[in-house]
Subunit: 236 residues, 2 copies
DNA sequence: GGTTGAACCCTACGCGGCGGGAGGTCGTAG
DNA sequence: CTACGACCTCCCGCCGCGTAGGGTTCAACC
């Protein structure tokens, strides 16, 4: 604990010494000290200074506020922990990819990174939520078939992009539909639809690994494809 | 992704459009875009912009830097996750205390908070490490005895403080020794020493609950005692 | 040609929680 | 009297942008 923090608490009105010496030096009374202990303890639990001020000044009026704040903080910590878990998964996937096949391949790692970014912006928030919901309901047998489906679809799409088929073409619309299905969108029911959705779930689940392995196309071509699909989608 | 972020990347030299129109508008080339994808992906993994700049500009020279950075980031995330786990434990303990005994008692909660702060500063880093090491080697039978030991010791210490015994007194030195033993310091061997150390470990383990239950003394008196012990310790 | 609205530009201030430094005053000991 | 530390106020800095303000440019329409 440094004096600078005390000055700061004074500045924002959270805790100021209730007395001063004639020379202007701060004199913290016993009550100030008790308040300081509370502030420090709540800070150590991760609360913001504003929240601390709120609960310390309003605790007399509303004895539940303290518990509410702690519960809220617990919720935030849970959320935060989950996010960290996801990040750890992704990084571990990347490190596995970097470590296994004949030493590390920075270009491939970079391509994976670019694809992560492209896919992150391509999938809508809603789609990702749906994928997360049903994530666990999936076995591992459809994965190879899924890779094949993705690969075929992307190859076909890239051919369309390069031969310059306009986005209003019927083949483009069909491609969009199948792409959406793989991406977890609204596909007609039936076994094939389920298989493709499952593939998309699995693929998103640990996306870095799967995207890196199963989609070895240059990122700029992928970006072009995504742009093309977006235009085709808007064209109906 | 907003334009403001792009301006920012430009400002700090992380990513700038390599062309401009005659009117001054930024023109991002395909290569710029690929670099942007990489930046975004690495940001999403939690790396700082400075680190990203380092690895993107030095990746050609040193192909291992990328992997090192990811490994480093994984380590940091692990650390962070552990810290969050500790905080969650503490808050859960506080909420349990607030919820069980006949509704919540904000004063008691506050007292617990103050004590947490006092103890946090009182225990040295070394002591806490030692406690963490042997934390799991403890059963649950010594807890009640431990509470009694703490209670008796603190009562005795508070009496000494209030009757004004000087810190150089032999009784004060004895108190410091026993206090240190409870706090995980160096106590003479034997069954009693082990029991007191075990009590200290258990007490620190979920400190909020135990401190709140077993030490129902006002925080300012505890603070006075801690100060007194500190002086006695320094007096040898 | 004029006008309009969207898109782009630059500049500057703001956040949270202090760290760190400059430059001055106060307290105490030799 | 001097020295040294502790304390004071004021101000700039960090990170990763968000937000606001005021000025240009672009494409389209009248």
């Amino acid at each position: 604990m440094t004096v600078r923090a005390l000055y700061h608490y004074d500045e924002i009105g959270l805790l100021s010494a209730s007395e001063r010496t004639p020379a202007g030096h701060r004199r913290y009374t016993e009550r100030d000290l008790r308040r300081l202990y509370r502030v420090r303890a709540l800070r150590a639990l991760g609360l913001s200074l504003e929240e601390i001020a709120g609960v310390l000044d309003g605790a007399a009026d509303d004895p539940e506020s303290m518990r509410d704040l702690l519960a809220e903080q617990l919720r935030r910590l849970d959320e935060h922990a989950e996010l960290i878990g996801v990040l750890r998964q992704r990084i571990r996937g990347l490190l596995r990819q970097a470590g296994d096949s004949s030493g590390l391949d920075p270009d491939r790692l970079m391509t994976t990174l670019e694809l992560m970014s492209v896919f992150e912006t391509y999938f809508t928030e809603e789609q990702r939520e749906r994928l997360a919901e049903r994530r666990d309901a999936l076995g591992g047998e459809g994965v190879e078939a899924a890779k094949g489906a993705w690969a075929g679809l992307v190859e076909e799409g890239l051919r369309l992009v390069e031969t310059g088929v306009p986005a209003e073409d019927e083949r483009a619309r069909d491609l969009v539909r199948r792409w959406d299905a793989l991406a977890g969108g609204f596909h007609p029911e039936g076994p094939e639809g389920e298989r493709t959705r499952a593939a998309a779930r699995r693929m998103w689940q640990d996306n870095s690994e799967e995207i890196g392995r199963s989609l070895p196309w240059p990122a700029e071509r992928m970006a072009a494809l995504v742009t093309y699909l977006e235009r085709a989608r808007q064209a109906g």
